[in-house]
């Protein structure tokens, strides 16, 4: 049994909350007392049907306004998998919440209302999924009951969306016609759509292969903390504590400590306090090196056979998350894994309006929810990979040092001057 983390993109109007409620309900993850609470708050009871959407609205304001403000996490399990749902709001003003939810997801469910087909919002959600480089996408064409379960209608939407997916370079796209309200193709295959020969949504979620999304070839180990007991029994113990974010580490492996570039060899790997032969991503371990080198939090122990990029200047695609605008030459703190460095955002190359898809060249500033291409220069070098290549070592956040708030999410595209990966839209 493993874990699938997924995100649902869509608005209340697309039936997103109903879909999540349906998944929880049909997988028997909703308890009687929770259901009773929903029944109490269901205002318009029709045909004794409870409003499953109410399950996902956690805050008072959300229930009052019938909207989702923030990312809510929901959990359910089947005998095959544990699922973690990031339920994010769909409206434009909450783009940053969707980016947040997507950053930790393996898969995105993009909801399309069968009556309306691919709309502006579908494109915007898909751009975010592409930006955050989610390895799997499920397009759920919802409300099929309202288009008389029409195969033609569904096929048209699949053709339309395929173009969006191709232009954004989305990988592994699966299409499913559903009705969240009636439960068609959610857990069981629907008898109303005999023409559909794929699996139900739950069976797709249960079987999509995510273990291959973990990179086991390029060893990256950001040091979080140094364990030094300095006791009588262990006077010289010095272990580097951290999580392997990619690759496999074995005793005897040649490594390079970045950004200093010092070389050494792994002398021991400890997992849960016991020495082991090898450890792999995403395990949290303690590494020991054969040489007495100066390593502290923020350094990265990299496998010598898979060099990392080390630079002070690089290009990023950046999603701005603050009400205070981003102005070129502003200074921030950049955090990538355990490393914090001061940085300056140099020129903004262009700004992408994720709603209209218009590109504005050399903008003077970026506002909340804007996506921009920018160059960042750091005060000291950082060790990174491009986000496209290695998600775990290509994402960074920007922190405003005066308020300490997280103001931006960066996906590193290249070392400055190299060719960008970002698909042309």
């Amino acid at each position: 049994m493993d874990i699938l983390r997924f995100l649902t993109a869509g608005s209340v109007d697309d039936g997103k909350s109903t879909l999540i409620g349906r998944l929880l309900y049909d997988s028997k993850s909703i308890m009687v007392d929770q259901l009773e609470a929903i029944e109490r708050s269901t205002k318009n009871k029709e045909e004794g049907r409870v409003d499953l959407a109410l399950l996902t609205d956690g805050l008072r304001a959300e229930r009052e306004q019938g909207i989702t403000i923030d990312v809510a996490y929901k959990y359910f399990s089947t005998p095959k998998r544990k699922f973690i749902i990031a339920d994010t709001p769909g409206h434009i003003q909450y783009t940053r919440n969707m980016v947040t939810g997507a950053s930790n997801s393996d898969l995105a469910i993009i909801l399309i209302d069968a009556r309306h087909g691919v709309v502006e919002q579908t494109r915007r959600h898909s751009i975010i999924v592409s930006l955050l480089n989610l390895p799997h996408v499920v397009v759920a064409v919802n409300k099929m009951d309202l288009v008389h379960y029409s195969q033609d209608k569904y096929n048209d939407i699949v053709i339309d969306y395929s173009q969006v997916a191709a232009s954004l370079g989305l990988k592994n796209v699966t299409y499913i016609p559903i009705s969240a309200l009636n439960g068609d193709n959610i857990v069981e295959k629907s008898t109303s759509m005999p023409w559909y020969d794929g699996g139900s949504l739950l069976s797709v979620l249960e079987t999509v292969e995510v273990s291959e999304d973990i990179n086991l070839t390029e060893g990256r180990f950001p040091v979080q903390y140094v364990i030094r007991p300095q006791t009588e029994e262990l006077p010289d113990y010095r272990g580097y504590a951290g999580k392997i974010i990619s690759g496999i580490y074995r005793k005897g492996d040649k490594v390079v400590v970045q950004p200093s570039g010092i070389e050494s060899t792994i002398s021991a790997v400890e997992l849960g306090g016991k020495e082991v032969e090898e450890a792999f991503a995403p395990q949290s371990v303690v590494l020991h090196l054969a040489d007495d080198v100066d390593i502290s939090r923020g350094d990265m122990i990299v496998k010598q056979d898979a060099p990392v990029q080390v630079a002070q200047e690089f290009e990023v695609v950046l999603c701005w998350m603050s009400n205070t605008p981003l102005v070129p030459r502003n200074r921030y703190l950049l955090q990538i894994n355990s490393r914090n460095v001061r940085c300056v955002v140099k020129e903004l190359e262009y700004k992408l309006n994720v709603n209209t898809l218009e590109k504005e060249l050399s903008p003077v500033s970026a506002g909340l929810n804007d996506v921009v291409k920018a160059t960042i220069k750091t005060a000291s070098p950082i060790a990174f990979d491009t986000y496209q290549k290695l998600r775990a070592n290509g994402g960074a956040i920007l922190i405003d040092e005066t308020s300490n708030v997280t103001v931006g999410a960066c996906m590193i595209t290249t070392q400055a001057s190299e060719k960008p990966f970002w698909p042309e839209i």
């Binding site: 049994m1 929770q34 923030d70 959990y75 399990s77 364990i227 951290g242 939090r297």
Partner: protein, 302 residues
Amino acid sequence: MSAYKLDYLDQLESEAIHIFREVAGQFERPALLFSGGKDSIVLVHLALKAFRPGKFPFPLVHIDTGHNFQEALDFRDYLAETIGEKLIVRNVEDTIKAKGLTEQKGKLPSRNGLQTYTLLDTIEEFEFDACIGGARRDEEKARAKERIFSVRDEFGSWDPKLQRPELWNIYNGRINKGENVRVFPISNWTELDIWNYIRRENIELPSIYFAHEREVLEFDGRLVATNEFVQLHESDVVTRKTVRYRTVGDMTCTAAVESSASTLDDIINEIIATNTSERGQTRIDDRVSEAAMEDRKKNGYF
């Protein structure tokens, strides 16, 4: 299947250890809020995995409401001694006396609200900048929205609308003076995950989690252990039943469940079969209003 594939419990464990080490790396004076309940016992177990053979970079802190089960208190002292880590206890009773606070009245007087005063005083006394807690997002819908690093102002308040975005596995623990961060390493665990992990790791628990005989009051469909803090009326129905606790909180606000589950296997089977949620079945304080937890969190509660 690849040999390099982690089981879900291994994934959850690794994520929690990573969060613990982020706390150690980012804060100067963290603390682990320990209640004696199963979730905080699991936290201690994870901290051992994160920091041994070194010492914990934080003390265990218990805010004792004075309404705790003796079994939980005994276990707390036993555990702290066994692992050789520092335990700080602060009493709600002392805060009530020192500050002249008014206690709740009624049949089941809860000190849940008063607990927050002692917690905030303790944070101030030791200048804690981060408090690690065992809250889980599956417990309650306000908790479902909380970050893993949750910034609180000097009144301990949680502002759900002003939460920092939390991206990838990057945690921003930077705070202004007077603020502190509540950290929840087991945010992504469910009740069943906790029990499965306890079974897998063979983690010791206080005896009240297992079936035992106890005198209980039947109150509003729940079973509340009779004790000096519960005001009995002659019309009350008090019986002896075989029960266990699914959660361990204050004696006045935690209900027992009728059960003969005496082993971890029994408990897990019972939880798989149950149709009632953990808090719904055992927490009397959540039923006050739809937003009871949200309101408490805004006021500095855990």
